[in-house]
């Protein structure tokens, strides 16, 4: 996977989530994503951005336009230095939330993406990466 361009945005407030959604939409449109595909990646970004803020205590997201052979796509990497996730399988289970959520953020973001990776260490933080190809 080759990175063609990338930019970082902070995630500190709930307004930042809105800014991330808008930036993701813009990049998806520029890449020529159809309306449904745009909506899917924007929705996934909103879920993950909220997790970074609410559970990770804030962090950053890196938006990258990537290429793999002839395919182009959008990669989003959310990173925080929060408490981390002790049980990843549990966190990924639809309906599980440790807070007030619906427990659909991680599972939903995974379904709405073509690639999904999560790495987390207790006490060190969490990194979630998704890709949606055109």
């Amino acid at each position: 996977m080759r990175v063609l361009e990338s930019e970082s945005m902070p995630l500190r407030t709930s307004e930042d989530i809105v800014l991330v959604r808008q930036a993701v939409r813009k990049k998806a449109v520029a890449l020529g994503f159809g309306l449904v595909d745009q909506t899917k990646i924007v929705t996934a970004s909103s879920e993950l951005a909220r997790n970074t803020l609410d559970y990770g205590g804030g962090g950053v997201v890196e938006l990258a336009v990537v290429e793999n052979g002839r395919r182009s796509g959008l990669r989003l990497v959310f990173e925080d230095h929060g408490p981390g996730i002790a049980n990843l399988d549990l966190a990924l289970t639809d309906g599980y939330t440790s807070g007030q959520g619906m427990g659909l953020g991680l599972g939903g973001a995974k379904r709405l993406s073509h690639e999904f990776e999560i790495a987390s260490k207790t006490g060190e933080g969490t990194k979630v990466s998704i890709v949606r190809w055109k």
Partner: protein, 126 residues
């Protein structure tokens, strides 16, 4: 913007969400609506989301909470104008908006609300 305006239309309330809401704004709307239902003794709430380009689990939950609270206060809720791309994404997200009525546009939403209010009057109560 720190508040989404709530319009009174006879015995109904109409909310048109025209901005990409941040989470606090969504929570404020939820509180404001509950207060207005009580104050205006409203029988129905129409929430127009036709300009919303995305509904994530937070906004979905807010819509569900509004509908539940309105129900407790004797009002029906209809969510109006959900874009097809949003509906398709909600299905894949795995969100079930249990208990939420939807309609294509405000006019059809009004039809649904009027029918619901009429029906609950005939029954005495639901």
């Amino acid at each position: 913007m720190d508040r989404i305006p709530i319009l009174k239309m006879g015995e109904f309330l109409l909310v048109t969400i025209q901005v990409d809401m941040h989470d606090r704004l969504a929570l404020t709307l939820q509180d404001d609506l509950t207060a207005q239902i009580v104050k205006q003794k409203s029988r129905g709430v129409l929430i127009d989301i036709s300009t919303l380009e995305m509904v994530d689990s937070f906004i979905g939950r807010m819509l569900g909470s509004i509908a539940s609270m309105a129900r407790l206060l004797g009002a029906d809720t209809v969510v109006v104008g959900m874009q097809p791309s949003v509906a398709i994404t909600l299905v894949e997200l795995g969100l079930s908006m249990k208990g939420i009525r939807t309609a294509l546009d405000v006019e059809k939403g009004m039809t649904a609300l009027r029918a619901a209010v009429l029906a609950s009057r005939e029954d005495g109560d639901e």
